[in-house]
Amino acid sequence: MSFNNLDQLYRSVIMDHYKTPRNKGSIEDGGITVEMNNPTCGDRIHLTMQVEEGKVKDAKFDGEGCSISMASASMMTQAVKGKEVAEALKLSEIFSDMMLGKDYDDSIDLGDIEALSGVSQFPARIKCATLAWKAMEKGVQNP
């Protein structure tokens, strides 16, 4: 078989984030902690964030899961770090639209996140990609 279809999912940027995750680890103290798992498959994320004056100062993650879930977590922390909470939530909304295959707001530069757009073609893997974003939303909304 050709790898063409697989390459739509496993873009090199994704595999790079999987192999060399950004913001891996845990913020020691004073932060927001979210534990979330995907009960159907066992993926797990431990997300810590430092939110001050409505801004995500820092975000780190730890966890176990497939390439898509872990790469997505790495990209998410990279994307929300330094952003206003409202901007982070807006990104999450755009990401959700992207996963559902809807038209999404492309006025904002998504950077590496764009590489995950192919996941929408693999319905079984959408939950993998959205886990970290759900954890972030939960963290900033119920700190």
């Binding site: 279809n5 697989l6 999912l9 595999m15 993926d43 176990e64 899961g65």
Partner: protein, 409 residues
């Protein structure tokens, strides 16, 4: 091998997935259905559909005969002493919950022990956790051997005179291990406990004889044995069922209804509240006819051969770990594995792009995953329609996955 000619009875298998002929290796999750079962459901709805056990019209009689006829087929299939001991339910989960609620609440007191194992499916863990919490009972786990089997010494160590219920799966949905139910039942009985068997992975694959096992309850699902979803069976010994209160109340299960009190029908109907799963039972009956035609002994033999060949071929792949007993005769047609550092979801996606369906995840057995010290695994499970060629396709697909992810690790 029995499979090549049998594949033709399963229309769903004759299709391409992502441009490749489908290889279905997820029968432990649910089996595919032969035309015989699909036709039986169609015929029931086209010719006989009606409610059962009421009215005097002809269709009602036909539906009742079909439904009760299916019960007799199940009785023979598991060698129960009487159809009074065969209760139709939604599936294994409902059946075990019925035992935990109906028997457990009446018989478990604070300090009593309920004994299960580390390899159980969540459906044979959580009902007991809930019962133990409610009654202040102690839930104990039997240790596994390194190869994922259960030793009778460990059973004897866990089961004491305080034990009231022992519940164990007959065949593991992850490791494929076939557990020594008859011997465990003896140990349970010697200690005054009852024996509950989760037979979900056993009934499709080997000859079940509840009287020879001497177990007190035996639960299984129709959909894993060529039958429809939504139908399953709880077998229970008559004296225990008679002493039990129903769990669901309503129509169908009553004898006399007064304003403030009611009485129940006799067995097995007192446990079948509401309009029963009539078409499901008819479909299950057709599935049993189909399996009997092939012969459970032949199916079991075929699965040992499939497991042996899969273990041989998969072992050729560097970095592939197989979990569970090394001896294929100690396992049913289930092979659970991990491919070096590649996450099982990623393995399953590559296989799916090759038309091969496997399960990836924790297989509803989180305590077992913890025992194996993994977060997830991939699983290939075989049934009567699988062939050695399917294993070759799997092996080839796994080599592709390995190659594809080789530059990542």
């Amino acid at each position: 091998m029995i499979s090549q000619e049998l594949k033709k009875y399963f229309p769903i298998l004759d299709q391409e997935i992502n441009g490749n002929p489908l290889v279905y290796l997820d029968s432990a999750a649910t089996s595919q259905k032969p035309v015989q079962v699909i036709e039986a459901l169609k015929a029931y709805y086209e010719l006989d559909n009606s409610n059962v056990h009421r009215g005097v019209h002809t269709l009602g009689n036909r539906a009742t005969e079909s439904y009760e006829g299916a019960r007799e087929k199940v009785r023979k299939f598991i060698n129960a002493a009487s159809t009074e001991e065969v209760i139709f339910m939604r599936g294994t989960t409902t059946a075990i919950n019925t035992v935990a609620s109906g028997y457990g609440r009446m018989n478990i007191q604070a300090g009593d022990e309920i004994v299960i194992t580390y390899m159980e499916h969540h459906s044979n863990i959580i009902p007991w956790q809930q019962l133990a919490k409610e009654r202040g009972a102690v839930l104990k786990y039997i240790d596994l051997e390194d190869d994922g089997t259960i030793s009778l010494e460990n059973v004897r160590a866990a089961v004491t005179e305080n034990t009231k219920i022992v519940s164990m799966m007959y065949v593991s949905n992850v490791l494929g291990t076939m557990n020594p139910i008859r011997e465990v039942t003896k140990i349970a009985h010697d200690n005054g406990a009852i024996m509950v068997v989760d037979g979900a992975q056993a009934a499709p694959h080997l000859k079940v004889d509840v009287q020879a096992l001497d177990c007190d309850f035996f639960a299984f699902s129709g959909h894993k044995m060529c039958g429809p979803t939504g139908i399953g069976v709880l077998y229970g010994k008559k004296d225990l069922l008679e002493a039990m209160e129903p769990v669901e109340f309503g129509g169908e299960m009553i004898d006399f209804v007064g304003l403030y009190d009611s009485t129940w029908k006799e067995l097995p109907w007192k446990f079948e509240g509401g309009t029963p799963i009539i078409a499901g039972a008819v479909g299950l009956g057709a599935a049993i006819d189909f399996l009997n035609e092939i012969g459970l002994e032949n199916i079991e033999q075929h699965e040992h051969e499939m497991a042996a060949y899969a273990m041989e071929r998969l072992s050729e792949i560097d970095g592939l770990t197989i979990y569970g007993p090394a001896d294929p005769l100690k396992r049913a047609g289930v092979v659970t594995f991990n491919l070096s550092e590649v996450h099982p979801h990623d393995v399953a996606t590559v296989l799916d792009m090759n038309g091969i369906a496997v399960r990836a995840g924790h297989h509803c057995a989180q305590p077992l995953m913890k025992w194996l010290d993994v977060t997830a695994t991939a699983r290939a499970s075989f049934y009567l329609y699988n062939s050695l060629e399917d294993v070759d396709r799997l092996t080839e697909g796994l080599r592709t996955a390995k190659e594809y992810f080789s530059d990542v690790f």
